[in-house]
């Protein structure tokens, strides 16, 4: 068993209104970042996972995403094992 740092990125599904992203977009525009065309805000979750392989860690945490870490109605997720923070 090794220990893997697993990164989970949870993002609002495409087409879903993201008022937080919108507010940040406006703030960026007012600072002159007028080349920014869209902003979406999600969250990153880091887990330390004991597993035999990166694939095993990924599978395990993808299951956890479907159950708890992401809401399938409103969010997409991406799991990457072995990343360094």
């Amino acid at each position: 068993m090794s220990r893997f740092t697993v990164e989970v990125l949870v993002t609002p599904r495409p087409g879903l209104l993201d008022p937080q992203g919108k507010a940040i977009h406006h703030a960026l525009a007012s600072l002159g970042y007028d080349t920014v065309e869209d902003v979406r805000v999600g969250k990153a979750i880091y887990l330390e996972v004991a597993a035999g392989s990166a694939e095993e860690a990924t599978e395990r945490i993808e299951e956890a995403c479907r159950k708890l870490l992401a809401n399938p109605v409103t969010e997409d997720f991406r799991v990457t094992a072995g990343v360094r923070r």
């Binding site: 879903l16 209104l17 008022p19 937080q20 708890l68 870490l69 809401n71 109605v73």
Partner: protein
């Protein structure tokens, strides 16, 4: 009529719901979230608050509290389960109601009175209202922006499962009267069978004159009356 009021760590309207049931003539009982049985409860209320601190997403962690297996089983058998505010979020996370409650369009925590139009007066929760009646009660939430995909939304509308909509004092459903951006101005819905209700506004905070409105009491009276009738029917069937 015995009503279980679920208390999670972070619930803050469990007392309000307890009193509401009492004033409506029912017998409320607190059930701690770590319990695994609802006992002899004939209805369940999942109250408002910030269960488990609303961490991750409102309702996401509460949905896995030990008592929730019993609540889900009770609902699947047709038992009356009402989720108010945070309770609505918990029931969506638990899959008992479709959709999700997103961050308010304003990004602000909204806390003020709102008007609701009663769209259905034939549910177990709204029998004491009239269809089209405009009622007033407080709302208090940061994540009340009801969202469901277009197919689910169409299904809700076609089946008449939208029970309450935000409206102005005249009963008109307008963008200005919508406090959070919820789709189709939805404030409350029921499941397909009609036994599970979720709503963001607080009928439990509109039950006595001193609170500024008594418009919420009829919801609890409807609930208590329905459960009593259901029990009487079940008993006569057994007899």
């Amino acid at each position: 009529m015995k009503v279980a009021v679920i208390t999670f760590p972070g619930s803050n309207c469990d007392q309000d719901c307890h009193r509401s049931v009492e004033l409506a003539g029912g017998s409320p009982r607190f059930v701690w979230h770590r319990e695994r049985s609802l006992g002899d409860a004939e209805a369940v209320i999942v109250p408002g608050g910030f269960a488990h601190g609303d961490y991750l997403r409102p309702g996401a962690i509460a949905r896995f509290s030990p008592i929730m297996d019993a609540v889900i089983g009770f609902a699947r058998e047709g038992g009356l389960v009402a989720g108010i505010c945070n309770g609505f979020q918990v029931l969506c996370e638990a899959g008992l109601l479709p959709g999700a409650l997103l961050r308010n369009r304003s990004l602000r925590f909204q806390s003020h009175d709102c008007r609701l139009r009663v769209e259905r007066a034939d549910t177990p929760y709204t029998r004491r209202y009239g269809e089209g009646q405009v009622i007033r009660m407080p709302l208090s939430h940061a994540d009340g922006n009801y969202y469901a995909d277009s197919a689910t939304l169409a299904e809700l509308e076609a089946a008449g499962r939208v029970v309450f909509r935000y409206c102005d004092p005249l009963g008109d459903v307008t963008r200005e009267a919508n406090p959070n951006g919820s789709l189709n101005h939805i404030a409350g819905i029921v499941n397909a069978r009609g036994n599970v209700l979720g709503m963001m506004p607080h009928p439990d905070r509109a039950i006595e004159e001193v609170l500024g409105s008594v418009d919420g009491l009829a919801l609890f009276e409807s609930l208590v009356g329905t459960a009593v009738a259901a029990t009487a029917t079940a008993r006569s069937e057994v007899a």
